[in-house]
Subunit: 493 residues, 2 copies
């Protein structure tokens, strides 16, 4: 009873339909019965777990600890930081009651007698509840720095949702740190955007540009927002992680002061930083093709799949016996292996399924291979195959996985370089945006008006002011006013 | 600027105040600004992470995978399984709106125009949303079993809360499995309560009794609930984990049928099972003393602390140098070590602090030890010390940690055995309950009336019908009716 082969819409036909098909058909996630909320399926969750493990280790290696703060935030907490409430008020899930009751006509109804005195907001982010807590943890400079992270779910009531990219509920981590000085807090914000960059590049094979957000695009309540921006294969940018220098805004809102080294009271300096399941969307769109997912080996739940090409049970048993030996050798090197011994479907179907699921290396063996001591090794990234001796296959595969990891990164980096264009006029800007897409490097006069007008006319936004932007005299492509450096524009997710 | 020594209320003075003091002063958790919701502080969370890691591995080793389902459940889903809604309706946080707005007088208010058509319940448990999802995953017996687990936060609006033991929001894992046959589902439920038992005993050093809940105490919607029951040091029982055989109840409520091996449609069989941050409460109450936490080495975030006894900076530097060598050796054996080189507090204060935090082994070294090549090793479980040569200290400590792990378990097991009493009359029952507490093994006629009346009169409940209860003719201590086996009664948390 072979299942139907799962056909994807091609990228050329419809990029957004291709993405959606891929997420669903590769078993990563699906829509749930609750508007805008997704179910993360086991295969998708296994990738997320690998991301979490790698990030968590990087956070701990940089001195951070995990903690857990409440899901609910009293409504009044939001109102304390003016920009923050403006940023989040329009997309909050609000808990108003704490009980249901039976109703003879409607079955179960909300009990009107169980109304909360103060409504609770399901956290869209946790600065307010955390800074209200830090108030009790901090008296003196000796209590600083506080370097906490939490892994949690958050809710932002988005009107238009897409699996992983924009969902009402999503999973993320949020770091919240407290410091003695402005400099130390700014260093922390910079350090953590560096951690995100390293993770994106080393684990996800995804080159990113690190830069400052324009004032208009800052996090609600931040003095500075650092971002990593990645380029997807359709030429649109995706903000993949942010790190904020919050100044003393939240310390002031929650009255968190400390006795400094001179014994004087001072407000505490803050950062926050986060990445979310949105990274799953980035990972998918950065590398995958019309055959399905392309997963970097370091994040693949299954790195190698072994498929027997057999006639009859006896040969299947012989091949599986051989596979067990190979699998043991690979596992001894820390490689995750699956032996696909299903006897109710053809090899071609299995090949397609594992391609769809992005398994980096597929190895197939038939009767002739058994005799010759060879195995066919297929790479997911290049879709090439070769016949290899099974002597030393473990070392061969280990090297191959490293090579694939590097190749996927290099390919994405080359793509981004091809898709980054310098322009010097607004006409050129619009032409590149229309015909080519990608990142557009252009002079900007630093004003919010220009930023908003360009967005209104072209849908392109300033993704960031890159950290490595060199000083260069120029004029704003829109206003003609002087500019000191280029910024990166793009259409984005 | 040494901090004040953190005094605990003694257990004898007030067990419940001792518990609360300990949780707060050892830095495990604290109340938040949101009624009934706690903040899990970094040290407490580090213990929880170790529990999670051990359990997660056990789940995966028994064939389970992780996934993630929505936080919100449409109100109508609850109404589909009658017992389930009765069980949870009275303690639900209900989301009714999805937006706030500015109000000139009150600052920020809930936007009345943003009322949800159907209210959403913050999950108190996820059977309904998960079975609504499984409906799309299951067509034939080939899609079974489904063996999913999720790590998540849940909300139950408890009126009287206690840190870790009973909180409005808590963290847990919930396994939800789907099976072809009743037998297979029942085996799964039994297998998972076995996993919980092994975890409680091997990791938490906490002996547990495994048994069936009485019908009255079953999970809302289950045909059978298995439980692990632990005994706390005040003689009260604590339900520490449950595993439910759900029959076809949820499959019927959500119309989840599959084509069986004969090609006929049949409803799917289900289990669910969970443990929560309540285990933190169990861990604390099972072993700790008036000096603070007593942590089993396998769950201790810091297993060994090294404290220098020094005069002046030079000696401190010498000791720390020696400690670095010892710490490296211990870390090479996978032991987590902290060197407490703070120079602003006395050793006695440090000793008390690490006792409070339950670090299993404390090692101290002074000038004389340096010369003699010795170190003082103190055990947290027995509060004994001895002077040990630093040659081979790594092996010594490794063995000591194992010995401590065993000793804490044995002590708890002996306590439970002493505190388990067989009684044969209701007078005896009441006397033991009053004067001694603990588990009381008695005959019961199997009726809910007796169970409820005993509870009303004595506050004791049937904790479980132990799996290993031998058949034994007897009469119910309350009704005098015949009974075939003894059950365990106790007062409980």
């Amino acid at each position: 009873m072979a299942k139907e082969l799962k056909q994807l819409t091609s990228r050329e036909e419809s990029y957004s339909q291709w993405y959606n098909d891929l997420v669903v058909k590769a078993g990563l996630a699906e829509q749930s019965a609750v508007r805008g909320c997704m179910v993360i399926k086991p295969y998708g969750y296994a990738i997320w777990e690998k991301m979490q493990a790698a990030l968590d280790k990087m956070f701990k290696d940089t001195g951070h600890v995990n903690a857990y703060f409440p899901l609910f935030i009293p409504k009044s907490f939001f109102a304390r930081e003016a920009d923050h409430v403006d940023g989040f008020a329009k997309e909050c899930a609000v808990v108003t009651h704490y009980r249901m009751k039976s109703d003879p006509e409607q079955g179960v109804v909300v009990d009107p007698d169980a109304r909360l005195e103060e409504e609770l907001i399901v956290r869209p982010t946790s600065e307010t509840i955390i800074w209200n807590t830090y108030k009790n943890w901090i008296q003196s400079y000796r209590d600083l720095p506080i370097l906490c992270n939490q892994w949690a779910n958050v809710v932002r009531w988005e009107m238009r949702t897409r699996l992983f990219l924009r969902t009402a509920e999503f999973l993320w981590q949020e770091g919240h740190t407290a410091h003695e000085t402005s400099e130390e807090a700014q260093e922390e914000a910079m350090k953590m955007i560096g951690v995100y960059k390293e993770f994106a590049q080393q684990w996800m094979c995804m080159p990113v540009v690190v830069g400052h957000k324009s004032p208009n695009e800052r996090f609600a309540g931040a003095l500075d927002t650092l971002t990593i921006e990645a380029l997807m294969q359709d030429g649109k940018a995706l903000q993949s992680g942010t790190s904020h220098f919050l100044g003393q805004n939240f310390a002031k809102a929650f009255d968190v002061q400390f006795a400094n080294r001179e014994g004087k009271l001072e407000y505490v300096w803050a950062t926050s930083w986060g990445v979310s399941t949105r990274l799953m969307g980035a990972l998918i769109m950065a590398h995958s093709d019309n055959n399905g997912l392309v997963l970097p080996p370091k994040l693949a739940p299954i790195q190698v799949v072994l498929v027997p090409i057999f006639k009859g049970e006896e040969q299947l048993a012989q091949l599986v016996e051989k596979f067990d030996i190979i699998a043991d050798k690979l596992r001894a090197k820390g490689i995750s292996v699956k032996i696909d011994d299903r006897d109710n479907m053809r090899p071609g179907f299995k090949f397609s399924e594992w391609e769809l699921k992005g398994v980096p290396v597929r190895m197939a063996m038939g009767g002739r291979d058994l005799e010759a001591g060879t195995i066919e090794v297929a790479r997911r990234d290049t879709l090439t195959k070769e016949s290899v001796s099974i002597d030393g296959i473990d070392t061969y595969v280990e090297n191959l996985l490293n090579e694939i990891q590097e190749n996927i990164y290099t390919k994405a980096l080359n793509f981004r370089e091809e898709m980054t264009t310098e322009v010097n006029s607004y006409d050129e800007f619009k032409k590149v945006l229309e015909e080519k897409g990608g990142f557009i490097s252009a002079h900007w006069d630093g004003s919010t008006e220009v930023e908003e007008q360009v967005k209104a006319e072209t849908k392109a936004t300033i993704r960031c002011i890159p950290l490595d932007a060199k000083e260069e005299e120029g004029v704003c492509i829109f206003s003609g006013k002087p500019s000191k450096r280029r910024v990166l524009f793009a259409k984005s997710y």
